[in-house]
Amino acid sequence: MGLLIPSSGTLFWMIIIFGVVFFILAKYAFPVIIRIVDERKSYIDESLEAARQANEQLTQVKAESERLLMQAREEQAQILKEAVAARDRIIREAQARAQEEARKALTETRQQIVAEKESAINDIRRQVAMLSVDVAEKILRKDLTGEKEHVELIERLLDEMIRKPENV
């Protein structure tokens, strides 16, 4: 039965030793280990959170860049469309203007031609008149027999002269 009766000496020393061990470990060992593990845990949690946030930001940035790219593409398409439209318009305008110019030039030319023709006709008339005067002179210088026949001749000559350039 000696086993079941605690001896006073062992009790005494056990209380002292366990008390000292408890004091040392509770003050210097366990708080340190628990604090470090807690700190490490929160550090890992923070790292995970930071990684998650970075990932989120990356996704946002990606979406943003995607959006910007889309926008740029749209703008590009818009610009291209506008450029095509502008080109078409310019060409159309240029064509219209060219036509206008051509028409104007044609009209002017025609007017000029008419004017030239008239002046030419006038010229011819003047020359014919002069020629007729010359012819008349020459005829007059020659012998004017039979007045009636002469006048008829002159008339006929004149008509022929006038008609001639028109027929040509």
Partner: protein, 368 residues
Amino acid sequence: MRQRKNHIVQVMFRAFRYRLSGFLLALMLFLSGVPANAASEHQDVDVYEIVFGHIEDAYEWHITEIGSTTLRIPLPVLVHDDAGWHCFLSSKLENGAVFEGLRIASDGSHAGKIVTRNNGTEEVLPLDISITKNVLALMINSIVLVWIMLRCASWYKKRKIQEAVPKGGIGAVEALTMMIYEDVIKAGVGENYRRFAPYLLTAFFFILVNNLMGLIPFFPGGANVTGNIAVTMVLALCTFLFTNIYGTRAYWKEIFWPEVPVWLKVPVPMMPFIEFFGIFTKPFALMIRLFANIMAGHAAVLSLVSIIFITVKAGAVINGSMTVVAVFFGIFMDLLEVLVAFIQAYIFTMLSAVFIGMAQVKPEAEKR
């Protein structure tokens, strides 16, 4: 959590493998040396003496016998009787010698203890605070424990948390600490677990180190420390004090005025009596459980080893075969004791945590 547990098992197994091989070697050396010696003397082997001589406390640390000389470490005796304090080495009391009126009683109710003669006739126990084998082992084991834990703590002081995570032994200590802290203390105590964590962790590692040191079969280890009732009594007393000093009002109300039908508590305070008795039975069970488990483990291993010496007389064939059987069973028991060393420390801590947690109850109204 599961990974962490696997990690602990791995680390412990790795650490254990080396110790195991050393332990087996020591056991074999021990077994090869002693039987020849015992057989040559043709003495009867007193198994009771071997087993109880080891389990019980002693004033000297008996290591082994080489031939006829006994290798033992004398320990200081500190005794106070009518004549005052006595302080000397236990070698003065060897073989029943009387020194300064003191001797170690060989029989009677005080067998194995230092006794003094009171008024010349009656043998009484003086106030005895000698450094006995168990006390010395307690000191050595405590130094080992404190050294391990402080080394672990100082490892952290030298490093930043962002830089390194402990491996090996320190990693195992950390993993064990956190396993007890998270799974046992937090789960068992509940809300106020921080206040009780230092005590419960100290109790766990104290019991674990003492249990494991007790399994080492040679000098610094091998003492039956946690199989000593005084040691487990102090541990259980600490749990008792922590439970009841920090007990809430609701806890005391549940003891003296539990929520049971009135007739169970009014004319005869039956339930209050049972509940009040429970305050003491719980730590008492803790004390007996740890003591009995470790003591029985030591007794079983020693008894199995003793089979070898008992069967010497029965002839070489039986002795040889029984030696093989005894060694195998001894190895089995020792491995089992390693498991028990951990399990008992774990159970003591877990039950202490649960008892402390039960004394932290909140009033019913507050719970909802």
